[in-house]
Symmetry: C2
Subunit: 174 residues, 2 copies
């Protein structure tokens, strides 16, 4: 069980970044994508449309506040990982994290409250340089699955790519 | 020698995605970041500002057209990798790509021309699902360096993070 929680989404400023986060979550096998901040039906529809075309059924849901949600995850035996450039490098905790069966990955938005660092079980950095929460999430999910998540096959896909060395090969299934 | 070329940047629509691409390129050790499409001084200033604060001096440059630029890279012994969900999975070419000394990574924008698939030496997928060029670039650069690029130290950094399990530890160097 793998879920992602994106904090403090802003409809205007973050729409593409949050959509990239949700699609990365889906592509690498996350079952659920939650977000706090402003409610955004376009974000939800983008992911739904992607699932219709490319398969799977990643759930996307807006939640009002992260606090009760994170507590609930903890109480149900889940492990909470916060991705932050201030954390311990993933390499140092990778083996430990691979053993976890229920993971919630928290991805910051603008100004993450200090309590998030304390509430979560791990503060994990993908390097200690500022870059991108999308790159961080992608690398985390790729590493945690030993790059196997990339090979995931999605149920009910209408579009299926055949990998190609020099062009686009896609089958449309009606 | 590692460079990234982002195709078809649009100032309004792509500003945050292209900035995330450039910062990801910088954080994982790319020396140069080029882009085609609309010229964007904000994008260039963002990366410059980041280098001032966090060190290094990743060059960012707008180029008019990708064609001559790619040819020139080829002629000078460089290898061109195009990241695309239609390509061959990175796993299958990783060993081969690690041997290359001069790499240009091409990252698509909206509607990549077919000739790009033919001109580049490799069309590489980070999974064959639609997700994010930022996640794809991050995973590519992380894998190609065996996750060592993340540990890169930047010269002349004013901000230096000490990795922490439960908060933010950053030194300001004047």
């Amino acid at each position: 069980m793998l879920a992602v929680l994106r904090l403090s989404h802003r409809v205007f400023r973050d729409k593409r970044i949050s959509t990239h986060l949700a699609l990365t979550a889906r592509a690498f096998g996350a079952d659920e994508f939650y977000y706090t901040g402003e409610h955004d039906s376009h974000l939800e529809e983008s992911v739904e449309r992607m699932c219709n075309e490319w398969g799977g059924n990643t759930k996307v849901e807006h939640i009002e506040s992260p606090w009760g949600f994170i507590e609930q995850w903890k109480n149900s035996g889940g492990t909470i990982v916060h991705l932050t450039m201030y954390g311990i490098d993933l390499t140092d905790k990778l083996f430990e994290l691979k053993q976890k069966e229920k993971l919630l990955i928290v991805v910051g938005g603008v100004k993450v409250p200090g309590a998030i660092y304390e509430l979560t079980d791990y503060n994990i950095a993908i390097g200690n340089q500022p870059h991108s929460e999308v790159a961080a999430l992608g690398i985390f999910l790729d590493q945690i699955s030993d790059s196997k998540a990339r090979k995931k096959r999605f149920e009910n896909a209408k579009n299926v790519i055949t990998p190609s060395e020099d062009g686009k090969k896609m089958e449309k299934i009606e």
